[in-house]
Assembly symmetry: C2
Homo-oligomer: 265 residues x 2
C-alpha cells in the first residue's frame, strides 16, 4: 500500500459478442456490446499497464463492423489525457494474450512484458481451439517464427518477457493472482491503495458482475473446471482482502467507474 500510487482506467473502445459467448450456457443469445479497458498503475517503481486493448485495424480485418474505437480511445489517445506516452510505460502486464488485451503492447517499446509462463507457451504453440484468440501476435512477431523476427533466437524468454508462475507481488501493493481456465496462464490483478479498498481486476476470469454473482464462466475457455475454480477464487480473494472487483467486460459496471484522466488512489 503506497500513498503515491494512482490507478487510471483507460477507455480503449468496445466490441460485441453474442450473449452465449459472454455467459456460457446461459446467454441471452444475441449481440452484447462490451467495454475494453486497460489499467494504468502509476507507482513509485514504474508505470505498469495491465492489458492494452485491441488494435482496431486488426479486429476489423478479423470481424468487420465489430470494434468501435474513437481516436481518443486508442492507447495513445488515453495516455494523452494524462500526459504520458506509450514509451513511458515500464511494464506491460497481460492478463492473457487474447486479441482484445494485447493490441497496444507493440507501442510500449521500452516496457518489460510480464505474463504467466503458461500463457506465453500457449500463445507460442496454440491448440486448434486457441488459435483465434491468440491471432494478434504483433507484440512478439517472432514468437512462433523463431530467430529473425524478434532477434532473440529461439529462446522466447528474453529480457522483453518476464514470465512468472504462482501468485506474485510484482511491486509493493501490486499483486498477480493465478486464475486460469479462460486461458492456461491467466492472471488477475490486485492493487492496494492508500485511500480506498483494494481494487481487484478480474481480467477475463470474469467478464461481468452478473457472471460473478450467478457463477457463469466465459463462453471461450480452455478448461471448464479451472474456470469455475477461478471464479470461486475471485470471490474468495475479494472477501479476504475486502476488495472491490472490477470485471473485464461489463457494460453496466463500466458506466459507474471513473475513467482517465480521473484516477483512484
Amino acid at each position: 500500500m503506497t500513498s503515491d500510487t494512482k490507478v487510471y482506467l483507460l477507455d480503449l473502445g468496445s466490441m460485441a459478442l453474442d450473449g452465449l459467448m459472454i455467459y456460457w450456457m446461459h446467454g441471452p443469445s444475441g449481440p452484447i456490446r462490451f467495454p475494453v479497458y486497460g489499467v494504468l498503475i502509476d507507482h513509485p517503481d514504474g508505470k505498469f499497464l495491465y492489458d492494452t486493448g485491441f488494435d482496431k485495424s486488426f479486429i476489423d480485418s478479423m470481424i468487420p463492423n465489430n470494434a468501435i474505437q474513437a481516436e481518443r480511445q486508442t492507447l495513445q489517445g488515453q495516455l494523452d489525457l494524462i500526459g504520458l506516452r506509450a514509451s513511458d510505460i515500464t511494464h506491460v502486464i497481460n492478463s492473457h494474450y487474447h486479441v482484445d488485451h494485447v493490441g497496444g503492447n507493440k507501442h510500449c517499446k521500452h516496457a518489460t512484458t510480464v505474463c504467466h509462463k503458461c500463457e506465453l507457451e500457449a500463445a507460442a504453440r496454440p491448440r486448434v481451439f486457441e488459435e483465434r484468440g491468440y491471432s494478434d501476435m504483433s507484440f512478439a512477431p517472432g514468437l512462433r517464427g523463431g530467430a529473425q523476427s524478434i532477434g532473440y533466437g529461439d529462446d522466447i524468454y528474453t529480457p522483453r518477457f518476464e514470465t512468472l508462475t504462482g501468485d506474485q507481488e510484482i511491486a509493493k501493493g501490486i499483486f498477480l493472482f493465478e486464475t486460469p481456465g479462460h486461458t492456461p496462464g491467466h492472471y488477475s490483478l490486485m492493487v492496494k491503495l492508500a485511500g480506498r479498498r483494494p481494487m481487484l481486476f478480474s481480467g477475463d476470469a470474469c467478464y461481468t458482475q452478473r457472471a460473478l454473482d450467478e457463477n457463469i464462466i466465459p463462453g471461450a475457455h480452455v478448461d471448464v473446471q479451472a474456470s469455475f475454480d477461478s471464479l470461486a477464487r475471485l470471490r474468495q480473494l475479494a472477501e479476504q482482502h475486502d476488495a472491490d472487483v472490477f470485471c473485464s467486460h461489463d457494460p453496466d459496471s463500466w458506466k459507474t467507474w471513473q475513467p482517465a484522466p480521473g484516477f483512484y488512489s
Copy 2:
C-alpha cells in the same frame, strides 16, 4: 458381425438449441431444431437400445415450448412400429446421462442399464455445470438419494447398472468406444452388420456431420481438450473400420436415413 443383427433408428422427436450451443465458438446464433433418436439393435444375444430420447413432460417443465414429440415419437410409439414393448429391451446402453438421452430408460423395466463408470459417478454427484444436463434422474431415482428410493442401499453399482471402463465389445459385433469430453463418461457405439459398412454412432461426442468435418465441439462440454480428442478419435475409428458415422443431432443427415420400421442389416 452377425447376419441376423438388425439396427433400427427410432425417431424420438426433436428439440431446439441455439446454434452457438450446437457449434461451440462458431454458431450461427439463433435456434436450430434437431432430431433426437435411439438405436435399437436386435441381436441374437438380446435387444440393445442405445439412448432413449427425452421425456416430453420433463422437458416441457424445464424448457417450455421446446420439445416436439408426437405420440408415435415416444419410445413405445416407435417400438409399436416393430412389434415390441419396452419390457422386451434386455439392455439399455446410454451414451451419457443427459436429459435428451435417458427419458425412456424408466420404461425398460427388465433391462440391464449399461454405461461408463465415470458417467454414473458424474450423474450421481454432478458439479455445478453438470446439474442441468443431469436433471432427469427418473431412470434411477435413488441415485442421489441413497437407500430408500431404489432399495439397493448406497451401493449404486447394483445388477441394474452394469458399469464399464475402456473400450468394450459388449456382444458380438457391438462395440463401445470411450469418447469423453461432452461428459466425463461418454461412449460412442459401433455395430458391425453382415450387409453393409459398420455403423458408428457418435452420440453427443459429435452433434452433426458439419461438426465432424469442421472440427467443432458441442457448446456443452466438461473438458475442451478431451472433446476435441474424441472428435479426432471418431474420425480415426471411421477410417480404421471403414464405418459410416451417424451423428446424434443432425437435422440434415437424419432426413437421409432410414427410420423404423425400416432397418439396417
